[in-house]
């Protein structure tokens, strides 16, 4: 089973906060990390390889520094890493990203399974997995919480829904996006770290993947950001004063409409 895992390097958004005085993002101590959902996709790929044999290739599109998440992926069990990087890719929306990743994957080789995290935590769009499946013309299922069965030509998975889950069978080759419930990712092994250090990360640019200039980066993106702003605070607040008993009494009075 040859598996490709898509991995994105993202800023650790849970630590990002707005500075209310300057209205800017406080970045101190905010690190670049492997997108948490992708970590679960990688773990699932490594588990499948351990059981059925084959290979796990980690692939990431991003700036040169994204090489570090590929090394991290290797330390967690991936066999090799491919970085898709070119200044011409900058500004890509999910449409152009899906196109670019599809071209890159076709350049790298043939894969039975492509695994992605459900979404990246910086954009939270969840659009690239399905977009990639469309470009590669392969069946896909999103939000997989469990792979129940896997054989040479099909797999049965549980797809998380808003009201429960569906059990779905689909043929291989296929693409899945996974949620965190699917597994508990391992930490890098010492051997893995050594391997990651020595690994050669292949870099593919726009020319290497035969990309159409009209389809990549900002120019290839149908969506365009026209404005970025910080959410407005609500303006109607009342601070309650006094002892806890007094505050509670005021509060109950204020909330009388809801009681």
């Amino acid at each position: 089973m040859n598996i490709l895992v898509c991995i994105k390097q993202v800023p650790d958004t849970k630590d990002v906060r707005l500075d209310p005085r300057t209205n800017t993002m406080a970045r101190e101590g905010v690190e670049s990390i492997m997108n948490p959902f992708d970590r679960h996709a990688l773990e699932e790929a490594v588990r499948i390889r351990e059981e059925y044999g084959g290979s796990v290739t980690a692939l990431s599109m991003g700036p040169p520094q994204a090489e570090s998440v590929l090394r991290e992926a290797i330390s967690c069990g991936a066999d090799d890493g491919v970085l898709v990087s070119d200044r011409a890719f900058a500004g890509a929306d999910t449409w152009a990203t899906s196109y670019t990743l599809a071209r890159a994957i076709e350049t790298v080789g043939e894969f039975d399974l492509i695994l992605c995290g459900k979404q990246a935590v910086d954009g939270d769009t969840a659009q690239v997995g399905p977009g990639l499946a469309c470009r590669l013309a392969r069946p896909f299922v999103t939000c997989v919480q469990k792979i129940r069965l896997l054989d040479n030509d099909s797999l049965v998975v549980e797809r998380m829904m808003d009201d429960g889950y569906d059990v779905v069978r689909l043929p291989i080759p296929a693409l899945l996006t996974v949620v965190k419930d699917i597994n508990e990712p391992r930490v890098p092994s010492l051997k893995g770290k050594m391997k990651a250090k020595k690994a050669e990360i292949k870099v593919l640019g726009a020319a290497d993947i035969g990309a159409d200039k009209q389809c990549i980066g900002l120019a290839g993106s149908p969506t365009q950001v026209v404005n970025v702003f910080t959410p407005e605070p609500r303006g109607d607040r009342t601070k309650l004063e006094g002892t806890p008993q007094e505050q509670v009494a005021q509060l109950v009075k204020a909330l009388s409409a809801y009681l």
Partner: protein
């Protein structure tokens, strides 16, 4: 690419602070951009001397924009019911259609849809395109995407909206990719720009730390998924009239590679925090699982449900279906009582449209107090039980 006008740059460093990617820094009094730049535009927006601009290169015009008209919403139908987000989409779709002139059409897929189609008209649709077919009873990515793509190609609507639900978020991106259309995920605001009729789509980004407004200037249709529970539905009016059009989709499009073996509704996970009028929510400040017992008592007394922040769910004190926020659910109850929740933006985006917000927190600097209608600075272990018994007392009389 990002162009920096060295004459105009004053080296103030605001761009550096605004960049979430660490892609810009001030060197020798002038901003310098590196390879990490994603052209997100946050720096351009905040550059007072206007020294920054993004050069997008030539965009291709993929279609004649005039050929596309009408507002469409995809009405999700699952387990024999129209999913509520469809009515919310009709609410916002109605406004857009009234501003833009053309009609509002709902697209309904499934089996046994007569009742559902009538409901959609009552909630504001001028027309309903119905594809009533056993092969669409179960949700399957490939046939849903194929059928919607087919309908869009033959009817050319200007705007297509769908709910940002598990289903909408999975097959709509496939449709957009196949059509070469722009798609914005998880929108919380939609409006039409008066000058040129462009759909302006606003969504939270970076875990809700910033809001971004997005447009699709060159491609059609303009597509967006919309966050459930953010838009208001219209009051249903059974006397409204509308056209129900039955459409047949070619067999090869409805041929699926995917087979749904079973569809399970999880009772234990059926926590309807999105339906509750009153929510009492707990966060890290509860310290452990037992803290939630206090929260539950207060919720029971108020006839409300229990919600939680990501921190409490990650700590394992309560299950994921209770989670409110960017990575959880969006709620808009009449009353939201936040206990021991700091109110990081990731949580705030999920609850800020509550009618009244009460915050109880020990730390008077907690950002939750910026959102709250009523701020109680104090120990929740003291305040919450007091509040519960006081409410009991008031209600008892």
């Amino acid at each position: 690419m990002l162009i920096i006008d060295k004459e105009k740059c004053i080296g103030c460093g605001v761009c550096e602070d605004n960049c979430a990617f660490g892609a810009i820094e001030v060197v020798d009094g002038c901003a310098v951009v590196n390879d990490n730049c994603t052209l997100c535009g946050a720096c351009v927006e905040n550059c007072e001397p206007q020294a920054l601009r993004i050069d997008g290169g030539e965009k291709k015009q993929t279609t004649n924009l005039e050929d596309w008209s009408g507002i469409w919403i995809f009405a999700e139908f699952r387990h024999d019911k129209v999913v509520p987000v469809a009515f919310e989409l009709l609410g916002v779709g109605r406004k857009l259609a009234d501003e833009r002139g053309p009609s509002l059409t709902a697209v309904l897929f499934g089996a046994g849809l007569d009742e559902g189609a009538a409901e959609l008209i009552a909630y504001g649709a001028d027309a309903v395109l119905v594809v009533d077919d056993e092969r669409l009873r179960d949700y399957r990515e490939d046939v849903y995407a194929g059928a919607l793509e087919e309908l869009i190609k033959s009817n050319q609507p200007e705007v297509v909206l769908a709910g940002a639900t598990a289903i909408g978020r999975s097959f709509i991106p496939m449709v957009a990719n196949a059509l070469g259309a722009g798609l914005t995920a998880d929108c919380t605001q939609l409006s039409v720009r008066a000058e040129d009729g462009m759909l302006l789509q606003t969504r939270p980004a970076f875990g809700g730390n910033i809001m971004a407004t997005i447009e699709c200037p060159h491609a059609r249709p303009q597509m967006a998924t919309v966050r459930p529970r953010v838009m208001a539905p219209l009051a249903p009016d059974r006397s409204r009239s509308g056209e129900v059009r039955r459409v047949v989709i070619p067999d090869d499009v409805l041929d699926s590679k995917i087979e749904v073996l079973e569809s399970v509704s999880c009772e234990q996970d059926n926590v309807h925090i999105q339906e509750a009028e009153i929510l009492v929510a707990g966060g890290r400040g509860l310290e452990d699982e037992k803290g939630f017992a206090l929260i539950r008592k207060l919720a029971d007394e108020l006839g409300g449900a229990v919600a939680a922040s990501r921190a409490a769910v990650d700590a394992g004190w309560i299950s994921y279906p209770h989670q409110v926020g960017q990575t959880g659910k969006t709620v808009a109850p009449r009353l939201y009582i936040a206990c021991g929740i700091s109110g990081a933006v990731q949580h705030a985006v999920g609850m800020q449209s509550a009618e009244t917000i009460v915050a109880i927190n020990r730390d008077e600097k907690a950002p939750i107090f910026d959102l709250a209608t009523y701020c109680v600075v104090g120990d929740l272990f003291e305040i919450v039980p007091l509040l519960t018994s006081k409410i009991k007392e008031v209600r008892g009389t």
